[in-house]
Every structure is written in structure tokens, then in C-alpha cells.
């Protein structure tokens, strides 16, 4: 089923989401999608089905319930493979989320390939999740972090990036879509340039996966990390895609059951991919729920999502620009519907509490982007982030309440 999401049909789309339709919450205007997207009923029901009908462990024992759980679990991995067009399910490692996936690469790729004096390139607009693991690793072994700056428009300075690249560069770790600025970074160019000097590239795709398709083979991505809960799926499940040859070479990250072939007190041999990186009992219902979220995205269709969100992005930008004393941070021509702004010097916490009292949920704070806050010389910003299910009426209402807040705090 393919749905054309036109303005008049938005009501139908919203019916997929209990939070938007159930009486006690139906009036909430949810503008915090970059933090987490809402969950459609199909995902909620699928997870309940797991807990109700086959609430058992995977890859263990020989009973048929366990078999059913394992089949559903591996089906979800196959859906994820298709979703990002990986060559093989061996390249799809299930993690707790984007953060764990990046930590896995920093630790494991780092241990195998990065030595004292080598360089790791990040950008100034990374989420802390793509800064802290690298900083911890580099400090431990004496490698050097290099940072690609961005311009006041919130666009990466690729000239400086090219200058930073050298044979010393072992990996470039870049956010695909900025969670504060909405900027879509030109990762195709970034990857080609990195590969030209022999460096690998990790893409933090947490903010991208819900908005447009990602083809890891076409883009030649070495590592892609993302989270289920930012793409209409459950919390506690994320994905690390890695090229098979790299993952094969990398040592395990966490140790435990399920990732070994043989264990003795003298030696251990590890399982093949993807199990080598998946010790312990996984969040089975969440993995299967993520598979269902992918079904949901397919049902709506990325073509529809992109068309709708491009419209909402332009509409929101226009409306926000019409508000006196409102300053938007970042103005990339390539962007997702994520807007950071300040209003007349009013502290973002005060704005967000005011909006909350009027039924609008936004995020205020540094959004795990302290280097971005430092660049713009603000302690925090307000952030409005949309999804295709948001409506023009909601954006108009936001503008009206922001005008009220401006006067209230005068």
C-alpha cells in the first residue's frame, strides 16, 4: 500500500500513532522527533505479540518456541539488511543503540588499526556520542583528534576537511544529519576524499534513517550506526553496519555468552559474524519491533516521507522567520525538518516550559552538541524537530504560542 501524504490526508496518517489519537494525549503537539519519534501501533502490537506468544530466548535450546523467536529475530536482521542495502546479514550487528555502535567501532577498529600519532577526523557538529568514544580512545593510545569546522550557516567547511586529510588519517567519523542544525552533510564527497587517503569512514546515521533511504553500498560507507527509536521503532535497539572485511579483522568489543565457539581457561575462540559482536541475550522484542518499524516506513514510503517533510521544512522555516526577534541557528540548503533557535534572549528552558504548558513538546538544552553551542556562543537553544505526521496547523499554533511567550517574558 502506498499512501500519498497530502495535507488533507494527514489525519489518516496520524491514526497510525496512538499518542496522536487517544483522547488523553490527542491534543499534544509533538515537535521532539529528533529526540525520539513516536511509535506506530503496528510496532507496539508486534512487540506485545512477542511477549505474549513467544517470550523466549533466541539461538538457544531446541524447543519450538525458541525456534519461532529465532526465526522472527533473524527475519528482522534481514529486513535491516535490505533497509540499508548491506551485502550480507553478517554486516548487520545489533547493538543497544547508536552510542554503543560508535563505542564498538572506536574501541575495536581503534585497537586493530589506530596507533600512537595516527589521526581521527571528526566535525565540529558531532553529537557527543560521536566525540566522547573517540576522545577516550585517542587519549588512551596517544592518537590525535582533528576537527572539521562549520560555517555560520551550519555547513561543513570541506576545504579545511581536505587539508586535514593525510596518510595519518585512519578514520573520519561524521554525523549524516545534524541533530541541532538539521544540516544534511555531503557524505558522498566526504567518503570519497577519505578513501583517497586510505582512511575509513563512520557515518552517525541516527538523525538520517527516518528521513531518507541510505544505501551503504552505493555510498561506499565503511560503518553506519543508527538507533531504532529514532525511526519509529523501539528503544534499546540500534544497528552497526560494517563492511564484512573490516568486521572480520576487528577484535570483539564486549565478551560473554553467544559470541564464542569454544571457551576454556586457557583459550577462547570466537563466533563468526555477526554473533562475534553480540554477547548476551539481546533485546529480542525490540529487534523484532525494529523489523516492524521498517515495514511501517515501507508502507508509508520514503518517497512520500521525503516529499511531505520537504514541504514541512520549508513551511516551518518560513513561519519561524516571521517571528520577531527569533534567530534560527544554521541555514543549510540541504536540511531535515530540525530547527534550533533562540527567541529574544529568553532562556530556552523558560520557552520550553511555557510551550509545554500550552501543549507543545519541544526540546531545550545543548542537545548533546556543546561544541555547536560554543560556536554560536549560547548555552542552549530551543529545538523544534518534525516528522511527516506533523501538520501545518501545529506549526501555526507553535508560532502563535511563541509570540505569546515573547510578550510574556518581555
Amino acid at each position: 500500500m502506498v499512501l500519498e501524504i497530502m495535507c488533507g490526508q494527514i489525519k489518516k496518517i496520524r491514526e497510525f500513532f496512538p499518542l496522536l489519537t487517544e483522547q488523553k494525549s490527542a491534543n499534544i503537539v509533538y515537535f521532539d522527533n529528533a529526540s525520539t519519534t513516536l511509535k506506530p501501533i503496528s510496532v507496539i502490537q508486534k512487540m506485545a505479540e512477542v511477549y505474549r506468544n513467544y517470550p523466549v530466548n533466541v539461538h538457544r535450546g531446541a524447543h519450538s518456541l525458541g525456534e519461532q523467536a529465532s526465526v522472527e529475530y533473524e527475519k528482522a536482521r534481514e529486513k535491516i539488511r535490505q533497509f540499508i542495502n548491506a551485502k550480507s546479514t553478517k554486516e548487520v550487528i545489533l547493538t543497544k543503540g547508536t552510542t554503543e555502535a560508535i563505542n564498538l567501532v572506536a574501541h575495536s577498529f581503534g585497537e586493530r588499526y589506530i596507533r600512537r600519532g595516527d589521526e581521527v577526523i571528526l566535525t565540529q557538529m558531532e553529537h557527543h556520542a560521536n566525540i566522547v568514544p573517540w576522545k577516550m580512545f585517542c587519549d588512551k593510545i596517544g592518537a590525535v583528534l582533528k576537527v572539521v569546522p562549520f560555517t555560520s550557516d551550519g555547513v561543513l567547511d570541506l576545504t579545511t576537511y581536505k587539508k586535514l586529510l593525510s596518510p595519518k588519517t585512519k578514520i573520519v567519523a561524521v554525523i549524516y544529519v545534524s541533530n541541532s542544525l538539521g544540516t544534511i552533510n555531503p557524505i558522498s564527497t566526504i567518503i570519497q576524499d577519505a578513501h583517497a587517503v586510505g582512511a575509513k569512514v563512520l557515518i552517525d546515521g541516527a538523525q538520517a534513517v527516518a528521513h531518507f533511504p541510505i544505501d551503504v553500498q552505493a555510498l561506499d560507507i565503511d560503518f553506519l550506526c543508527f538507533s531504532g527509536h529514532k525511526m519509529y521503532g523501539p528503544f534499546g535497539i540500534g544497528v552497526l553496519y560494517g563492511k564484512e572485511n573490516l568486521l572480520e579483522e576487528m577484535p570483539p568489543f564486549l565478551g560473554g555468552g553467544g559470541m564464542i565457539q569454544n571457551v576454556s581457561f586457557d583459550s577462547i575462540s570466537y563466533s563468526s559474524l555477526p554473533n562475534k559482536f553480540e554477547p548476551g541475550t539481546p533485546p529480542i522484542a525490540s529487534v523484532i519491533g525494529l523489523g516492524e518499524a521498517i515495514n511501517f516506513i515501507k508502507t508509508i514510503g520514503f518517497e512520500n516521507i521525503q516529499k511531505r517533510e520537504e514541504h514541512l521544512t520549508a513551511y516551518t522555516k518560513n513561519v519561524l522567520k516571521g517571528i520577531t526577534d527569533l534567530k534560527i541557528f544554521g541555514d543549510s540548503p540541504m536540511r531535515c525538518p530540525v530547527f534550533s533557535f533562540n527567541l529574544n534572549g529568553i532562556h530556552p528552558h523558560d520557552i520550553s516550559t511555557f510551550l509545554d504548558q500550552k501543549g507543545i513538546a519541544i526540546r531545550s538544552g545543548h542537545h548533546c552538541n556543546q561544541p555547536i553551542m560554543k560556536y554560536y556562543k549560547v548555552p542552549a537553544t530551543n529545538r523544534v524537530s518534525l516528522s511527516f505526521y506533523n501538520s501545518e496547523d501545529e506549526i501555526n499554533y507553535l508560532a502563535e504560542v511563541l509570540q505569546q511567550a515573547r510578550i510574556f517574558f518581555l
Binding site: 532562556h347 530556552p348 528552558h349 523558560d350 516550559t353 511555557f354 504548558q357 500550552k358 531545550s364 538544552g365 545543548h366 556543546q370 553551542m373 548555552p379 542552549a380 510574556f408 517574558f409
Partner: protein, 146 residues
């Protein structure tokens, strides 16, 4: 009800303290300065304290000022705290900080000694904003205990 009360709370007292905070600014030769930061959002305060040197125990706080960056709740809470605690001794200050926290957490409904500061009881329903109100009080308590 909640909406009206909460926005009223902002409007009546907090906004005026936020706009023109009392005892805001540097202090020449304070006895000590203590910094506090809200890890969640990066807001911060620096408290500057001067105790009466002529008293044997030097436990009377005769001057108190603050600098910092934060939301209306943080600035107002700090401003009102500096007004309340001036000319109090350390034992009284500790008692008042504890009393403030009780008000904030809804453990007591009203404190005679806190006066206007009782309005922060309205934050009991907003756990995420309690951190803003409490930062300076916690910072001061930590400083005194050290």
C-alpha cells in the same frame, strides 16, 4: 488549574527577579567563591561570599553576590537566596537550605521563614525544572560543608 498557577508563578515574582536580579555581580575580595553547574543544560552560577572577620567563629555571612548564566528560575532562585541569607550564620543557612529543598520536593507546604521563596513549591510538579531552582542552594551547601 496547573497551567494558570504555573504561569502565574512565573509572572509574579520570578520574572521580576530574573529581569533585575538582586546582588548580581562580582565582589571585591570575597572570603570565597563557589561555582556550580547544571550538568544537564550547562547553566552555571558563581557565588561570592564574605563572612564577618570580627566574630571569633567567622560564621556570619555579611555579604553574598552571584554571577552566572541560566534560565529565569535559576536566576530568580539565586537572587532570592542571596537576599534571604545575608546576615545569617552558617547554622541558620544550613537550616534554610534544607527547608528550601523540603518546599521544592513537596515535603512541607509552607515555610514561614522562606517568605516569597515558597512560590518554588509550584515546581514540585516539574521535576526537570527543580534542578534549575536548586542549583545555587546545593552549590552553597557544598561550599559551606567544605
Amino acid at each position: 488549574m496547573k497551567q494558570k498557577n504555573y504561569l502565574d508563578l512565573y509572572q509574579q515574582t520570578i520574572l521580576s527577579h530574573n529581569k533585575t536580579p538582586k546582588n548580581f555581580g562580582k565582589m571585591t575580595n570575597p572570603c570565597c567563591s563557589i561555582d556550580g553547574q547544571n550538568q544537564m543544560c550547562g547553566d552555571y552560577v558563581s557565588l561570592h561570599l564574605t563572612f564577618d572577620k570580627h566574630r571569633p567563629l567567622r560564621d556570619l555571612l555579611i555579604n553574598l553576590s552571584f554571577e552566572g548564566e541560566g534560565c529565569a528560575i535559576l536566576i530568580a532562585s539565586t537572587s532570592m537566596m542571596t537576599e534571604l541569607l545575608k546576615d545569617k550564620n552558617i547554622a541558620e543557612i544550613k537550616e534554610l537550605i534544607i527547608e528550601f529543598k523540603k518546599i521544592l520536593h513537596g515535603e512541607i507546604e509552607y515555610s514561614q521563614r522562606l517568605g516569597d521563596i515558597n512560590i518554588f513549591a509550584g515546581l514540585a510538579k516539574f521535576p526537570s525544572r527543580k534542578q534549575c531552582a536548586i542549583l545555587s542552594w546545593d552549590t552553597l551547601m557544598k561550599g559551606i560543608n567544605n
